[in-house]
Amino acid sequence: MINLKLTAAVAALLGMGAGLGLSSAQAQDHLKVGLIATLSGPPAVLGQQMRNGFTLAVKTLGGKLGGKDVDVSVADDELKPDQAVSKVKELIDRDKVDFVVGPIFSNVAAAIMKPVTESNVILISPNAGTSTFAGKDCNPNFFVTSYQNDQVHEVLGQYAQDSGLKKVIIVVPNYQAGKDAAAGFKHKFTGEIVDEMYVPLGQLDYSAELTKIAAASPDAIFAFLPGGMGVNFVKQYRQAGLADKITFLSAFTVDESTLPAQQDAALGMYGGSNWAPNLDNPQNKAFVDAYIKEYNAVPASYAFQAYDAALLIDSAVKEVKGNLADKNALHAALKKADFKSLRGNFKFNTNNYPIQDFYLVKVAKRPDGKFETEIVKKVFSNYGDTYAKDCPMK
């Protein structure tokens, strides 16, 4: 086993050397993409999904995007905005990338926005969809292949409203995104909010909150507890015997990045999404199968949105026939979004955020024993965000 790994390492090193030699000789013809994602710390699994999704797309397209050989440089932002800024500056100044794809988190996106777009490099966000750049500060060099963050919370709010749930308790972390989540949910849900619980970011034990929820016995709860918080909350919610009694609605709390840890505890819980692994179209099926084969894990939305980002670059570079110097033509080509998105319906709004469908999804066990979210019903069709009207771009 060790020998095998050693051999692989040597092979990788040699491969890298060969790659370097090649790139200095033919650097001009190569398309250069910088990937910036959180690859260390507890949220690293999200960044890995994103990197894997993008890598898989490049591989599927034969190592080329838009007919050009592509060099991908990967950088870790460590979820530190200052770190992210120096990393993207390296990507732009040293590696001379044409596109930056990333990041996962909105606070990092806010930090790298200026350094990237002001260097006239295209920034494509495969996840972070902050409201800051959706309205009057929208930017022609900035594209989003995920969603505007509020929309996911609105899916659950709309579902709660439509299905006649009357009493709901909201559980979110006590920081900006948590408050936005609660606001997004309440934007669509007009029933009674029995309680809003603002827990400290990173809280581990929810026994006190669960006891209060049990005592209030609402019809449903709405939770926005990303990453490890969600893993802990879901397991403890199930252990406290609430899962069979109180409907569990959530955003970014049960998805393929957390399900390997939540497993059976999350079965039947609801989330909101623009996609799910079982979305029925041929290219999505092929993507999910290839991803599982390559990485032995079910892809989450982070992976599929990065895959779409690669398809977007591919389509635009093809459209301008590899000439990236004419930025206006490149912007127009990107905006056309002339590719088959894994989610089906997809086009860009005036603010370069997507107009797409949103679904209620539910956790289920796959035949292979892994867990995934599956589509229950469509909640919004061709849904754009509410900030686009303030964007001066056409």
């Binding site: 710390g41 507890p42 699994v45 619980m197 603002y198 006190a208 893993v231 397991k235 252990q239 015997g241």
Partner: protein, 307 residues
């Protein structure tokens, strides 16, 4: 109904307190007896949880996995002692902080390389899963009761060990004046090794016990370490009894604060600001408690004698 709620929240507080005690007991022993600041205690807790998950994957039985993981934690603790800690005993606290912080980085990254960044989980053993009905509509998970029982069991065992055995006497003596103990002909290096190994095992044990409730992920020990330091500072460094009392105090204050701060504030404020201010105050409470205790008793509730 609100009395019931208070009762259950008190139970929740006890459970958090007991967990903190399990972690803090090892830390206070090592700090008190060896005068050694071991920041790596948190990653040893994490390692206990990871080892339990790994062994569970092999033997598929929680209790066997528990025993194996405990032994592995102990072995790993002794290995660390041999490789790193032994060379730091006489050194400055700052050196110890730097070295043990390095171990945190190293192990956090190590488990990510070995087991991946995605959170893992350990199922509750079947016999102890499920919940008991305390009141109509109020269920309490059996596993949390098991944690409380285990914590009290360990506390009682430690009390007997420290109060009535020879090694316990040496530990107490070491907490008061380690150099004098050494001068009296006790093999202090062996004592240190035993104390350290035992402390690591306790950290591992708490990691194993909490793994069915929390996600097992890199960095899971970092937050809990801060709380454990608060516990040993309030309790008095080196005192098991102090750690026990302080851990329960913190568990109760934190849990009851989180449960009732908003309701209490609502009596004097409008609901919406109360919702915002309540959690902020609740998360400050334990530090306020620490400040008050340190103001009244600067060396903690139960300082080791002779310090």
């Amino acid at each position: 109904m609100s009395f019931t709620l208070l009762l259950i929240q008190t139970l929740n507080g006890l459970q958090l307190g007991v967990l903190l005690f399990l972690i803090a007991a090892g830390l206070t022993l090592v700090f008190g007896v060896m005068d050694f600041i071991n920041l790596a205690h948190g990653v040893q807790y994490m390692l206990g949880a990871y080892l339990a998950v790994a062994f569970y994957g092999i033997v598929d039985n929680f209790f066997i996995a528990l025993v194996l993981a405990l032994l592995a934690s102990l072995a790993f603790g002794l290995l660390l002692e041999f490789l790193v800690f032994r060379h730091l005993y006489g050194r400055d606290h700052l050196d110890q902080l730097m070295a043990t912080f390095g171990i945190i980085l190293f192990l956090n990254h190590g488990v990510r390389e070995l087991w991946g960044a995605a959170p893992l989980s350990l199922p509750v053993p079947d016999a102890l899963s499920g919940a008991v009905r305390l009141m109509p509509g109020m269920l309490y998970p059996v596993w949390r009761i098991v944690i409380i029982a285990a914590g009290f069991g360990v506390a009682a065992g430690l009390y007997l060990l420290v109060t009535y055995t020879r090694i316990g006497m040496l530990v107490r003596a070491g907490a008061s004046n380690a150099r004098m103990v050494s001068a009296l002909g006790v093999n202090i290096e062996l004592l240190f090794m035993i104390v350290f190994g035992f402390g690591t095992m306790l950290a591992g044990f708490s990691g194993i016990m909490i793994a069915p409730i929390l996600s097992v992920e890199p960095g899971m020990g970092d937050n809990i370490l801060i709380l454990a330091f608060v516990v040993i500072v309030i309790g008095g460094i080196g005192s098991i009894r102090g750690a026990f009392i302080a851990a329960l105090m913190i568990g109760l204050v934190d849990t009851l604060g989180r449960s009732f701060s908003v309701d209490i504030l609502r009596l004097v404020m409008a609901p919406s600001p109360a919702r915002m201010v309540g959690p902020a105050i609740a998360s400050m409470l334990i530090y306020v408690l620490m400040a008050v205790v340190l103001y009244v008793r600067p060396s903690g509730l139960f300082p080791a004698r002779g310090r």
